[in-house]
Symmetry: C2
Subunit: 139 residues, 2 copies
DNA sequence: TCATACTGTAACTTTAATATATACAGTTAA
DNA sequence: TTAACTGTATATATTAAAGTTACAGTATGA
C-alpha cells in the first residue's frame, strides 16, 4: 500500500475542516509531517482528478473542489494508488515447464485485482466528512 | 503487501498438486524463483500454524498437512501477513495541537484494520484448490 | 514592472524495506 | 558416520520509498 493515499486523504480532510477550504503546500506538509514537494506531487495528482483546484502565485495554494460528504476514500484510492495492493515481487518463472511456476503470477495478479475491487467497495462507504468526524470524536 | 503471502500460497498450491504432497526447500525455491533460505523461513511459519509438517534429514522436506479444499487464502494471510496492508509511513504528529494532525494516523489505522477484515472476507472464498484450478485453466 | 510567494516537476541524495547469499548447528536416514 | 535435509541468524546486495534541492512558470501587489 502506497502512503500517498494516506497523504491525499489527510490533506483533503484538512482542507475540508478549514473555514476557507484552502491551504498551501507548506501548511499541509507541516500538518501531515512531510516535505512540501511531496505534498505538491500528491496534490497535483488530486487536482488532475478534480478533487482540488490550485491557485498559483502569492496567496495561492490548494482549494477543495469536491463535496466532502460525497467524496469517498475509494475515489481517492482510485486516483492515487490503483494497483498498489499487489507486491512488486513476482513469483515463479513464465518460462518454466511446470504450469504452476509459469502461471502462478498470473493467477495472483487476478486475485490481487479482485482484492482491490473488494477493498474499494469498502472504501466507498467512507467519506472525507466521515473521516473528519472520526478524528473529532477521538478528542 | 508482503510477498511472503505470495510465496506461501504458491508453495501450498505446489504441494497440493504433487502426488505425494511433498517437496524440499530447493525444489520449492526453484519453482517459486527465490532462494531456499527464504522458502524455509516462510514454510517454517506455515508449519507453526499447522499448514504443513516437516521432515528433517535425508529425504526430508515439507509435507502438506491441511485439506486444500478447505484451506483458504484468508487463513494463509492471517498466518503470514497480518497488518501488512497498512503502510509503514505515518501521517501527522501526535504532539501537534491541531487535532487533525494528531489524530489522523489513529483513524487511518482503524480504516486499514477494517480494510484488512474486508480483504480477508474476500480471501476466505478462495481455497488452495481453487487457485490450482485457476492455474490449470490458464494452460 | 519588478520583487515576492506560490505551484509543478525533475534530478539527486538519503534512508528504509526487501530480497539474496552464506554459514552452521541440529536432525534423520541409509 | 556421512550425507541430505530443516531452522535460523547474520551479513550483503538490491530496490523502493521518502526527503532534499533546485528552478522554471505563474499570479499578486507594491
Amino acid at each position: 500500500m502506497n502512503s500517498d493515499f494516506v497523504i491525499a486523504s489527510h490533506s483533503l480532510v484538512l482542507l475540508a475542516n478549514l473555514p476557507d477550504h484552502m491551504a498551501n503546500s507548506d501548511t499541509i506538509a507541516e500538518n501531515v509531517c512531510t516535505n512540501p514537494a511531496r505534498v505538491r506531487k500528491v496534490m497535483s495528482a488530486l487536482r488532475k482528478k478534480g478533487f482540488v483546484r490550485t491557485k498559483e502565485g502569492i496567496g495561492g495554494g490548494y482549494i477543495l473542489n469536491c463535496n466532502p460528504e460525497k467524496t469517498t476514500l475509494s475515489q481517492i484510492y482510485l486516483a492515487i494508488s490503483t494497483g498498489s495492493l499487489k507486491p512488486n515481487w513476482c513469483t515463479g518463472d513464465p518460462d518454466q515447464k511446470c504450469i504452476i511456476s509459469s502461471n502462478a503470477q498470473n493467477v495472483m495478479d487476478q486475485i490481487f485485482y479482485e482484492s482491490e475491487m473488494h477493498l474499494q467497495s469498502y472504501l466507498n462507504e467512507i467519506t472525507i466528512s466521515s473521516v473528519l468526524e472520526r478524528i473529532k470524536s477521538l478528542e
